[in-house]
Symmetry: C2
Subunit: 600 residues, 2 copies
């Protein structure tokens, strides 16, 4: 073993605890009863006196309770999420009491199909009952009860672990303060079911499977390896595979003209298949993939919106752009259902080439999201400045931000908003306006922003922030969902202002719009006298590099409002820096303008 | 059998021909020799007197020589591309002599691993030599020689058939007048190699494979079925599968809680696997997928550009937007290599939800492309008006076209172009300007257009047209590749005019740009006096629905040219309809303007 670094949790022991006794079986979703049930688990860090710092990690298909550190001095590799969990790491064991158990049906200590069936004295094999994600979570809850843990600061997991996170939030709303669901879905689509089915077929077709009772024989190693190979293709992205392997050959430049493994990607998959066989049980593979296939919150609750109706956690939903197994669209479905319930949800689709496996391979960016969200949930009052500052220093937020949003704008918009109201800020940047409104006016604010780094900054501020392109509309927001919707210095940059504006008017009781006045006298004069496309301080771009794709004046917007039958409640023409409105000839003298509008 | 419709080729017989005799073996790419070789084939229609109407179809992995019609009265299904081939169909057997052979290594009559090995008197099995796509094409060429066919009007194929098309064009440039390569690639990427490798592993792992000598036993049916199931997932798109199957269950609403096939998609895949086993040979599956894995024109020729350097065919390259097996990006690589060689190539990425299988499932749109291209290649002088008219009537080409491009513009641009020159028209619409220039000035023209229907119209005119977004640049076009590049009424609609304009100046000796003058007096007056975003006849859109996202005047463009150090050779300010230039105060009085520019 390499020497332990100072941010490792060190040597840990997997504990086992009996949580269901032989004489009091647990009823499962399939209707069958199971007993006894043992749970294997690990813990890192310490439960604090307030008992409010427990972070439950749920693992994915092929991993187990061993999240971080080493089980012995001889261990060559640390736990599966060691990059994320440890003292000073993103899930900081100095702050948090981190726990993880091998799930029901697994093969790393918790009761599963390779456990001894008390009825026969032999391993269960296919006599093990079919289990569901809900069963797994039920067992975790019994385990928590036994540990004496009553509240969870957060439940975190990726992939099938993310399914457990969602199930936790839906089933135990009072216990789960926050839920971080990564690269997951509320249900597998047809393609994923198909891949699972073919993997299972490879195991079942292996003659060494012998009906699941292979424990004294060779076991279905080739079948399990094929299943794993199929799985592995789906965990990587096409781009990731191309960049990692391409058409590289393992040995010679020329072809071998036989059926041996020859391309690097073949060798890699063979290796993955073979090593998997050494550490995993074929029956567990069957049961866990079936549990994943069966997971369907929509089916359980009638609709996804209803599924999340009673949740009370803060949610952080994360997807990865190149994940084609559990896609960003599937994560957005979760977000949409939470939005439809007006829940506190943040979402980011992280740019990554690593496909589904990014939840293991992107500890940097993912870690920042998780730590920012955890910290803001744990200590909402405390600005985690160190974190935010690092983010800001390390990551550039361009000049566009400054050009679009100005202090004058912000201060005036703040003055227009009633205390204790609800606010949706479109294109909210790093969340400054929302943070100010929250601090000064006690509003309940939500943000929409496209840029990943700005979304991260908002998460760090503890805001409810969704990465979203406003051009796609606001379909899942209820009518009149907010007292105010703010569109500051953005209307001139969207492709379809009419569609966007109508959406805002639908979800907001009042819509506050600000934009630069294209009919300011300087612009007029420039075109009229000089015959040039105007370049001014407020419109500082040349015709060929402007982010502004629409040019409008106060008069244009007035007409637009009349056309859409929108009521203009206030119109505040502004000079360059002054907070006092331009009263005389505003369409000529205002550099920018703020409208407060509402539906007639 | 259902009654034969009048556009069916009717009952056809698969013929077999020995093309390599036992005593004169064919040397293969792997270095081994093979003899004898028989080829199974079908033909439809008649070879004309000029012997210039032969269309060779190359089939994909699991199909064979039986393209169209029925082999007997009892046949339940017609040939695999019956939708495309027949009298009056897109590949019209009234006009064309259509031929197809089962490829080398197949299992439908042509010599392959299930043929008898003369050395042993038993089927070859794994003693069959590894074959390549080039070997397949070599055998096809020998077959054509034997048939006495010296010229091919077109070689057409999808998927692995498309690989053969490319190989034909590269290997036999003098024979192939045109090449239509659909949903194909010059090489498999890592992900596709991986899927093939897992499929082969499933066959090899089946104990009934018995080293390939399974012909007296059961055969590796389960392994082959698994391979086919994997393949099938890759032939469909995620969207296609979702829409077709979703999470639909075969029988009950509730789960069965066992490992039987339960979801509709599982049942479908099982069925596909089982029926495949009945009609296909496992050894052939191994050999053909290996041939596909080995296909790599880049490796063969050092670079893709070099691979296509000596081709002399017209090319039509077609991909499907949802094909994730052989992706649109891979088709674009082919197009780029052809463009870099200044070859006659047309390209369209057809919008389809059907994934890779779209080449079988989109006979409508694909058929229009193929028939338009074939007709224009066969009789380049003859306007296939019926076709074009149908397309135009059936498919709407919106008002944008009319707004962007005008007769005045066209006529003036035509007058600026020297006879016999080379021209690239960016955003060429339905190709009218290029067609006129070709007819009137004998230019060699090429077009770039984004809209699928307009691309189709251009193909019908016999133009070389590439579906491409000019914002992506012109990376693969050589410097000074064209005498003229035309950008008519488009510069104001592109996101990055500077980047685009620089690219045009690189590839064209002269660049002709036309655009509406934003500083026309009417626009000036409207902003100056009325304070409104101008709406004029030339700029007919309101601020919120304009496709124009940049606004520029003659003066702006002059300054832009100075900044980029571009020489303005001519500047022709124009009125509304007149061909005579506006001589006085053009920036005030011109409604539009045409610039002829070049690099200094």
């Amino acid at each position: 073993m390499t020497e332990l670094s100072e941010n490792s949790v060190g040597i840990v022991k997997t504990e086992t605890m009996r949580i269901v006794e032989q004489d009091r079986p647990l009823e499962l979703a399939c209707g069958k009863a199971l007993a006894p049930i043992d749970v294997a688990y690990e813990t890192y860090g310490k439960l604090n006196d307030a008992q409010d710092n427990t972070v439950l990690i749920c693992h994915a298909l092929s991993s187990n309770a061993h999240v971080a550190g080493y089980n012995s001095d001889d261990d060559k590799k640390p736990g599966w999420w060691d990059a994320m969990v440890g003292p000073g790491k993103c899930i900081d064991t100095n702050k948090y009491f981190v726990i993880c158990s091998n799930f029901l049906g697994g093969c790393s200590g918790t009761t599963g199909p390779s456990s001894i069936n008390p009825a026969t004295g032999k391993p269960y094999g296919l006599d093990f009952p079919i289990i569901t994600i809900a069963d797994m979570v039920k067992v975790q809850k019994l385990w928590l009860d036994k540990l004496g843990i009553k509240k969870l600061l957060a439940v975190i997991g990726g992939s099938i672990g993310g399914m457990q996170v969602l199930q936790w939030a839906v089933e135990y709303p009072d216990i789960v303060k926050s839920a971080i669901a990564i690269a997951t879905t509320t249900h597998l689509g047809a393609q994923s079911i198909a891949f699972d089915a073919v993997g299972r077929e490879a195991i079942l077709a292996d003659p060494n499977f012998t009906g699941g009772q292979y424990h004294n024989g060779e076991g279905p190693d080739r079948g399990l390896a094929i299943a794993r190979m199929i799985g592995h293709i789906t965990y990587l992205s096409e781009q990731g595979m191309r960049e990692k392997f391409g058409r590289q050959q393992r040995k010679a430049e020329s072809y071998s003209y036989d059926f041996n493994s020859e391309f690097a990607v073949e060798t890699y998959l063979n290796y993955q298949g073979q090593t998997f066989v050494e550490r995993f049980d074929a029956n567990s593979y069957l049961y866990i993939t079936k549990a994943a296939d069966y997971f369907d919150l929509k089916k359980d609750h009638g609709s996804l919106t209803r599924a999340f109706a009673n949740t009370s956690s803060r949610f952080l939903i994360v997807s990865f752009a190149s994940d084609w197994l559990f896609t960003p669209a599937q994560s957005r479905d979760i977000v949409n259902a939470l939005v439809a319930n007006s829940k506190d949800v943040s979402f980011c689709d992280i740019a990554s080439p690593y496909g589904h496996d990014a939840f293991l391979l992107e500890p940097g960016t993912l870690g920042l999201f998780i730590s920012s969200f955890l910290d803001a949930t744990y200590q909402p009052g405390v600005r985690q400045n160190n974190n935010l500052d690092t983010i800001r220093q390390k990551r550039h937020i361009g000049r566009l931000e400054q050009a679009r949003r100005t202090r004058v704008d912000y201060e005036l918009i703040e003055s227009l908003i009633e205390p204790n109201s609800t606010v949706l800020d479109i294109g909210c940047g790093d969340g400054e306006l929302l943070a100010n409104l929250t601090a000064d006016k006690n509003i309940k604010g939500k943000g929409i922003e496209l840029d990943q780094e700005r979304v991260l900054a908002c998460v760090g501020r503890g805001l409810s922030i969704i990465q979203h392109d406003i051009e796609q509309g606001l379909e899942n927001y209820a009518d009149k969902n907010f007292d105010y919707v703010i569109l500051s210095q953005t209307v001139q940059t969207v492709k379809n202002p009419e569609k966007v504006f109508k959406e805002l008017l639908r979800v907001g009781k009042k819509v506050i719009v600000s934009f630069p006045n294209f009919a300011h006298w300087k612009s007029r004069a420039q075109l009229f006298f000089l015959g040039e496309s105007p370049v001014t301080k407020r419109l500082p771009f040349s015709w060929y590099n402007s982010p502004n794709i629409h040019f409008l004046s106060l008069k244009d917007f007035d007409r637009f409002c009349r056309k859409l039958r929108v009521k203009v409640e206030k119109k505040i023409p502004l000079g360059k820096t002054s907070l006092s409105p331009v009263r005389f000839a505003p369409n000529l003298l205002a550099e920018q303008v703020i409208y407060v509008t509402s539906k007639k």
